[in-house]
């Protein structure tokens, strides 16, 4: 079975631009979470979606938004990019949205903002 997939693998953007990152969860999983991992730090929680509804949001500005589609795939959108948005963006899927359901991570998208 395929694991969590993310696209693109890498991308380079300029300050002020917009970016869309994509994630496909493991088949049968209904929840997707997004994390930002700045170089040398641990991942920071951004969003969780379950059954197409936002279930939780971390301490990120409104420039960050996300959505989940009927097939449970997800997009993370970041507007008005800043240099500080340069990071590895990780997507994790789980069967459901909380408690004991394990989160399985994808390989990440490396975003560089210049």
């Amino acid at each position: 079975d395929a694991g969590v997939t993310q696209s693109p693998t890498h991308l380079i953007k300029t300050r002020g631009q917009h970016v869309t990152l994509r994630c496909s969860p493991i088949s049968g999983h209904k929840s997707v979470s997004w994390y930002q991992q700045v170089l040398g730090q641990g991942p920071q929680f951004i969003f969780q979606y379950y059954e197409k509804e936002e279930r939780g949001r971390g301490n990120f500005p409104d420039r960050f938004s996300a959505r989940q589609f009927p097939n449970y795939s997800s997009e993370l959108n970041v507007n008005a990019l800043l240099l500080g948005d340069s990071a590895l963006y990780l997507c994790a899927s789980s069967y459901a949205g909380g408690r004991s359901y394990e989160q399985y991570f994808g390989p990440g998208t490396r975003l560089t903002v210049t």
Partner: protein
């Protein structure tokens, strides 16, 4: 908010020997989960081991075991018989067992483990 602290930025171990990574956390909750994740240079975050706070018995997965001290809020990872493939960044993570905070993982800053041949 829960905070997770990993005080060892780097650890080095000789192949076949044992290394212990430390993790402490701060929470007022009584029910929660603790995890150790491994992130090799390939970036894929892989779950190594998981501990439920209500279980007194320490979790073990093959060469990986934890020492969970709930009162001290300590959760260390021991890697026995270290192998070259164990070289990676290791993250300690916390997740609440109570809604509405049970949806997210809170990670420490990580410990880089190098294995000497």
């Amino acid at each position: 908010a829960q905070t997770v602290t990993q005080s060892q930025p780097e650890m080095s171990v000789q192949e076949a020997e044992t290394v212990t990574l430390s993790c402490t956390y701060d929470t007022s909750e009584s029910d929660y989960y603790l995890f150790w994740y491994k992130q090799p240079p390939s970036r894929q975050m892989i779950l190594v081991i998981r501990q439920e706070a209500y279980k007194q018995q320490n979790a073990t997965e093959n060469r990986f075991s934890v020492n969970f001290q709930k009162a001290a809020k300590s959760f260390s990872l021991k890697i026995s018989d270290s192998q070259l493939g164990d070289a990676a960044m290791y993250f300690c993570a916390y997740r609440s067992d109570s809604a509405p905070n049970d949806y997210k993982l809170s990670f420490g800053a990580g410990t880089t483990v190098t294995v000497r041949a």
